[in-house]
């Protein structure tokens, strides 16, 4: 198996608050890893560090064996090979759906307009949003907006997709349509690192689950093992709370 991403000893602080306290993680191509853990455990920060939206304090990150952290690297080039989808969608409100999706390919990848649009339309078609191409984001439901955000990332044809609690801001009845998209991507072999609170979904889709607590990966393994026989007391405690909340 080829390694898609490697995270080595990553530390990250915001002011005095140390959010990541030495994270090591390796993700193979076509692998799907779910990051679980309480809010504030560092899931989002880890994803943002991998996407180079936050500089790491120490440690390094490799993408397809190539180091992407540090000053000597063209970070824009590295970012083009990864996609990230945010909890709050973060679509560009002043652009139509189509323009949202073509912006990256045409400006960052220098694709001719026609080619960028063909690529975008193919994706919109595939995920049932072709009829929304000329709508502005505020005309769409949350679920539709999030699907457009996923498509916006996919249009860059990334080697890796980072998903940051992408269903947390959605009404319960809209979560299904978004998770369906992710299932389809997983089936198609997309490499994904997913921070999620949807334990059922994680159990379903992940090849491996990593439990983050206070900035460290406390436990990792296949979903059956993590959910059925967690080893660490912290993992047990976390899962117990999830079960009590009726989320597993």
């Amino acid at each position: 198996m080829t390694e898609a991403v490697r995270v080595e000893g990553v530390h990250k602080s915001f002011g005095k608050l140390e959010v990541l306290k030495g994270v090591d993680l390796s993700l193979a191509e076509h692998e799907v890893i779910c990051l679980i853990g309480a809010s504030g455990s560092g899931k989002s920060t880890l994803l943002r560090c991998i996407d180079l939206l936050e500089p790491v304090d120490s440690g390094r990150i490799l993408l397809n064996g190539e180091q992407i952290t540090g000053d000597a690297v063209d970070q824009n080039r590295a970012r083009r090979r990864m996609g990230i989808v945010f909890q709050a969608f973060n679509l560009f409100p002043h652009m139509t759906v189509l323009r949202n999706v073509t912006l990256g390919p045409s400006e960052a990848l220098d694709l001719p307009r026609r080619q960028a649009e063909a690529r975008a339309l193919e994706l919109l078609e595939r995920f049932g949003l072709a009829d929304k191409r000329d709508d502005y984001p505020d005309r769409l439901s949350g679920g539709q907006q999030q699907r457009v955000a996923i498509i916006r990332s996919l249009a860059m044809q990334p080697a890796l997709l980072l998903l940051d609690e992408i269903t947390s801001a959605l009404d319960p009845e809209l979560i299904g349509e978004v998770l369906e998209v992710i299932r389809e991507l997983a089936a198609a072999g997309m490499t994904m690192l997913i921070a999620t609170h949807e334990m059922g979904f994680a159990r379903d889709i992940a090849h491996r689950v990593c439990f983050l607590d206070a900035g460290r990966i406390v436990e990792e393994g296949p979903p059956d093992q993590i959910f059925a026989q967690p080893q660490s007391p912290r993992t047990k405690q976390f899962l117990q709370r999830i079960i009590e909340a009726g989320r597993l």
Binding site: R48, D51, L53, N76, R77, R79, R80, M82, G83, I84, F86, A88, F89, N90, L91, F92, P93, H94, L103, G104, E107, A108, L109, P137, D138, R139, G142, Q145, R152, S153, M156
Partner: protein, 285 residues
């Protein structure tokens, strides 16, 4: 916010009253307005100095004679306004973008932009126009225009750019940082993120305050009168006033400015109300 729509199209002053108080309320308001206006009018007309005031400020004959000349020169004010505005909008945006560049590398550019804004916001516009309009032509530099009008206009542009750049900056800062994150995560450079994502959203948001500055600029074109050789409306009115010993031409000039600025102000109000309605209405983000 659906309520806002119909009322914001018309005069909200009367519209609100009608909604709150009904037809009777409007009737009372009209009546009391008429009484107040009549009382003020009566007092003014019957004051001791009214005949003299009327003759030197509101002389109908003088108005008829001077108005066409002043109106003709007023075209220059509109010209100054339009030309000035183009340069102001571009220079101000440039300054605002410079000031929003992040990181230590861009410190000198940021410092430069801040110095510029501090300087030109701190000096009265009329002084800038005076210094440039009289100062630069007197230097007799080769290859530099000697027209006082040109330099007066430059002064106006420099001064207003400082104000307008602050309006832009407020707009840029009002765009949520997650929008930058979104753009950068697609692999766009800082400048591309500014160009495609931040600035377009910022400009949309600041259109009403920008138009406010338009209104102010339209009036302040009269300041160029202090340095120009070729008269615009204010200067022309002054010339006639000096010749006829009558202030009516100045009132005529004032009226011309009002003809432009009042509709422009109403337009700004309308746009602001619409923008407010839109923001509170839909928009998920």
């Amino acid at each position: 916010m659906t309520e806002l729509e119909p009322t914001s199209r018309r005069s909200r002053l009367v519209g609100d009253l009608f909604r709150r108080e009904g037809a009777k309320g409007v009737a009372v308001a009209l009546l009391s307005t008429a009484v107040v206006l009549f009382a003020i009018g009566w007092l003014v007309v019957h004051s001791k100095n009214w005949p003299a005031v009327k003759d030197s400020f509101f002389n109908a004959q003088e108005f008829r004679d001077s108005f066409p000349d002043i109106a003709q020169k007023f075209v220059r004010n509109i010209e100054y306004f339009l030309i000035g505005e183009v340069f102001i909008l571009s220079l101000a945006l440039f300054l605002a973008v410079l000031r929003s560049l992040p990181g230590p590398v861009f410190f000198p550019l940021r410092a430069l932009a801040i110095t510029y804004v501090d300087l030109f916001r701190g000096i009265p516009t009329i002084l800038v126009i005076y210094i440039l309009g009289f100062g630069v032509p007197s230097l007799g530099l080769r290859g530099v225009p000697v027209s006082a009008t040109f330099w007066g206009l430059v002064g106006l542009v420099l001064s207003y750019s400082a104000y307008v750049s602050e309006v832009y900056r407020a707009g840029i800062e009002s765009v949520h940082p997650s929008q930058v994150g979104s753009a950068r995560s697609l692999g766009l450079t800082r400048l591309q993120a500014l160009r495609f994502v931040i600035v377009p959203q910022a400009v949309r948001r600041v259109i009403p305050p920008l138009l406010n500055d338009f209104v102010a600029l339209q009036k302040d074109t009269a300041l160029v009168a202090f340095v120009v050789a070729v008269p615009e409306a204010f200067k022309e009115a002054q010339i006639i006033q000096n010749a006829d010993f009558n202030f009516t031409p100045l009132v005529a000039a004032a009226l011309l400015f009002l003809l432009i600025t009042v509709p422009l102000t109403r337009l700004v109000d309308w746009l602001s109300a619409r923008e407010r309605g839109r923001r509170q209405g839909g928009a998920v983000l």
